[in-house]
């Protein structure tokens, strides 16, 4: 395997695609490579290719979660979501750009079952054990998106600038389809460069997990208030970060037998997040 370190975004984009993958903090990609879940001929190290740092509402994709969680310019929901993600060691390596591309923790997928998300026919989780899995968007694949910051960015209405376009975080994600099992709309050689995160009047991130710290969200709820409008972004409930307008949207959840509890947690957390704003 080859490791390249292009000097700028343009060179990085040229080096991507055709079996090469982008490497930022490596906290998710390296274990995936080690376990043989993804393969790459070339790794394209982004250290010199994407901006890093926070300037008002603009956040470089190479900014680490550790940098975000302590910066007062960053809205509370995003700071809290970063602070609650992973462990300090991982947060000081992991970048916000990489975090948006974080892969699911679905055991079947990580154990390389020939599941639908891997291009196969069936979702093993639906018939098997699925306590950690989805309650929305789970018709084809019941995996749950694990990113805390992505849920916060969704609630905050953040926008993403890539090397070729600008789109909202809501547009960045889409449920995988039979044609493309990816959860983002980006091209294989497309690079996330920067985020623009509007400042809300108030925001918060609440996260239910299996222990007090250092665990993936069972359900994470980000809430952001802009004037009299409140937006919610949920982690751990769908194959992608999931936006809801209110707790009433949970009436439309499609939980599996083992994930019904998540509907109740989400409902309670939305109410608590709303009253915290």
């Amino acid at each position: 395997m080859e490791l390249r370190r292009p000097p700028d975004a343009q060179h990085a984009v040229a080096a991507l695609g055709n079996g090469s993958l982008a490497l930022a903090g490596g906290t998710d990609l390296v274990p995936l490579l080690r376990d043989g879940i993804v393969r790459a001929d070339t790794l394209v190290h982004l250290a010199d290719a994407v901006p890093r740092g926070i300037d008002g509402t603009r956040i470089g994709a190479g900014t680490t979660l550790a940098e975000l969680e302590v910066d007062p310019q960053v809205p509370a929901a995003l700071r809290e979501a970063c602070a609650q993600a992973a462990s300090p060691q991982l947060r000081s390596m992991g970048t916000i750009g990489g975090n948006l591309r974080q892969a699911t923790r679905c055991w079947y997928w990580r154990l390389r079952f020939p599941c639908w998300l891997h291009g196969g026919e069936v979702c093993h989780a639906k018939a098997g054990q699925h306590r950690e899995h989805a309650i929305f968007g789970n018709e084809r694949c019941a995996s749950a998106h694990p990113s805390d910051p992505a849920a916060a960015l969704l609630a905050l209405g953040a926008r993403v600038r890539t090397d070729r376009r600008e789109l909202s975080v809501a547009e960045l994600y889409r449920l995988p389809t039979d044609e493309s099992r990816d959860v983002v709309v980006l091209a294989p050689d497309e690079l996330v460069l920067e985020l623009d995160v509007p400042l809300p009047d108030a925001s918060v991130y609440l996260k239910a997990m299996d222990r007090k710290k250092w665990a993936f969200p069972l359900v994470g709820v980000a809430a952001a208030r802009f004037g009299d409008r409140v937006a919610f972004g949920l982690a751990g409930v769908a194959p992608i970060p999931w936006a809801v307008d209110s707790a009433d949207d949970l009436d439309r959840a499609t939980p599996l037998p083992g994930t019904a509890y998540k509907v109740q947690i989400a409902r309670a957390l939305i109410a608590r997040a709303f009253s915290a704003l």
Binding site: G128, M209, K212
Partner: protein, 738 residues
Amino acid sequence: MTVPAEKLRLGRVGESARRTDAVPKVTGEFAYSSDAYAAGMLWGRTVRSPHAHARIRSIDVSEALAMPGVHAVLTHEDVPGEKRYGLEFRDQPVLAFDRVRYFGEPVVVVAAEHPEQARRAADRVRIEYEPLEPIVDPERATEQEPLHPDRPTMGHGYRDDPRPNVVRSLVIRRGDPDARGDVSVSGVYELGIQDQAFLGPESGLAVPDGEGGVDVYVATQWLHVDRDQVAPCLGLRPEQVRIHLAGVGGAFGGREDLSMQIHGALLALHTNRPVKIVYDRQESFVGHIHRHPAKIWAEHRATRDGKLVCIRVRILLDGGAYASSSTAVTSNAASFACGPYAVENALVESTCVYTNNPPCGAMRGFGAVQSCFAHEAQMDKLAAALRIDPIELRLRNALAPGDSLPTGQRITGTLPVADVIRRCAELPVPEAEELPRDPIRLPGGAGNTTRGEGVRRGVGFAVGFKNIGYSEGFDDYCTARVRLLADGSAEVHCAAAEVGQGVANVILQTARTELDTDDLVLAPATTSSVGSAGSASASRMTWMAAGAVREACRAALAERERTGGEVDVERVYRHPRTTPFDPETGQVTGERAHVAYACAAMRVVAEVDVELGLTRVVWIGTAQDVGRAVNPQAVEGQIEGGTAQGLGLALMEEVQTRGGLITNASFTDYLVPTTLDMPPVESVLVEDPEPDAPYGVKGVGEPPTVVSTAAILSALRDATGRELTRVPVSFDEVVGLD
């Protein structure tokens, strides 16, 4: 002006002495087995079965052998001696032949210059499998094709159970099992698979001696039993295999069985080079046995005033693919099924079955953890049914010296059950904390999920007990050797494995006490300079090592008195003899089947956010029967660590399997409690010296693990009003109560 400093006096028996390994472990200077290094060493790698059950059609190593840096690729055909090994029964292939019986079973081993070369070569070993239907449901295992048609555990004095796939079954019958009381409560309880989750994965270094023998430096729990398993498989005499203890990063029972020992030695002898093997975390999850998952059906009958009349319990343990120490776990689960209570009538059936799930064996608490979870849930249920205070109910039934257990064994030593209950119940329970609080001090922790909404508080209580030492007629002994040198210094040899429990200090404190000097050293633990110490298991090592070292010290002093010169003596210490259970009635056939018992009581305050199902254990108070504390600070450490392990089982720890495959083999997905999940533990050491033991000591490592899972569940039930019959507790049972 200077004042001559007082001579440093190191700890004697009964004093809190700083552990010799404490500072190096904290500063990162401690050498663990994975740090071992030898010039010119190769790296070993194990090729493992991806199937829970399959026939091996063919193995082709040619491509792997041709890979760069590769020195050896070995299969079962290269095992020169016995093809099978086992801790108690020789049922496990060194390298699989014909078929594999569990996910991760070793099939081929590779040695290469670099670990990455070994890994790549391992990927090129071509094994053709014919997958077979795995047996994964323990309740149906006895109706299916036998995994071990030769029934390796039968014919060892156990009950002859004709059903297929029974590792062992034991029935204890006492009095009239149909005796009826005024009230009866029953329940069904389940426990998931717990992992030892030691921080140091399996690792070791095998070094050929150039004369056909081999030295193995490894993290293990019992050096001599390792040697006695390794040597026959290599076709060597025992003295040609020398096992040396390398730095152990935790054990908890998970290092009783062999891991890399035979594989490393095979590769080293084959290549004539030192070979190092280090498992990664994922491999470690399949590289050792786990705590038996269990299903327990229990019925308790009592009089209206709360006196137990009859207890009926059925226990089903899933032993996984190989026997390991399952036969002893089966009998332990049965021995402690009724709890530390006096009851005249009992029927206990305990069965362990083979399946294609991960093999299970020894883990801290060893059968008693599973039983305690069930009997204490039952006692709470009985207290509720009788409207008697649960602590009072336990006191009314507490076992005492002189009483007989359901096995017929009379308690001849100390067992202060009522005392630990009272001392624990006297500990003041902390007041509920004011709101608002830091989220870390609320259920949900750093997730910031509540400011007090939905939070209910509960207080729980549990009592449990367990045996100390090996049981059922096992010839359990410990050897120590003491050299008194001409310069007045002394050297102590004992192969007791320091696994983090503090036995090195026990040995040193004993020797300092007996020889009345600080000028002594503890030699490295090895099979080459001293006889067997037995296993660092069954809460036995303190008792046994103290016994052996004390005898050797006293003999050495007597010898020096007689000869006047340097002396070198070795002594073997044995605890009182035990005898087997009657295979048909489960009754003792001599004075005792277990050597001695230790008990503990624990009180827990917990908070539950009943809307979210999130918990916080607020406070734990415990009183433990320790016989006599050799090193009180170390005993408190054992109590806190053992409690944390039980808290993990109560709240989060479970090895998940699908069709026999482990699905969460990482510390990312298998969660163990952090310090934030652990509350402060207030411990009372109840010192009631054991008459048969040196200095009156008892083991202390297991009782806290036995009771803490049960005590935490008791508190969660009090907070939620739910039955909570399975651990780890699942959200479904708690969430959305409002």
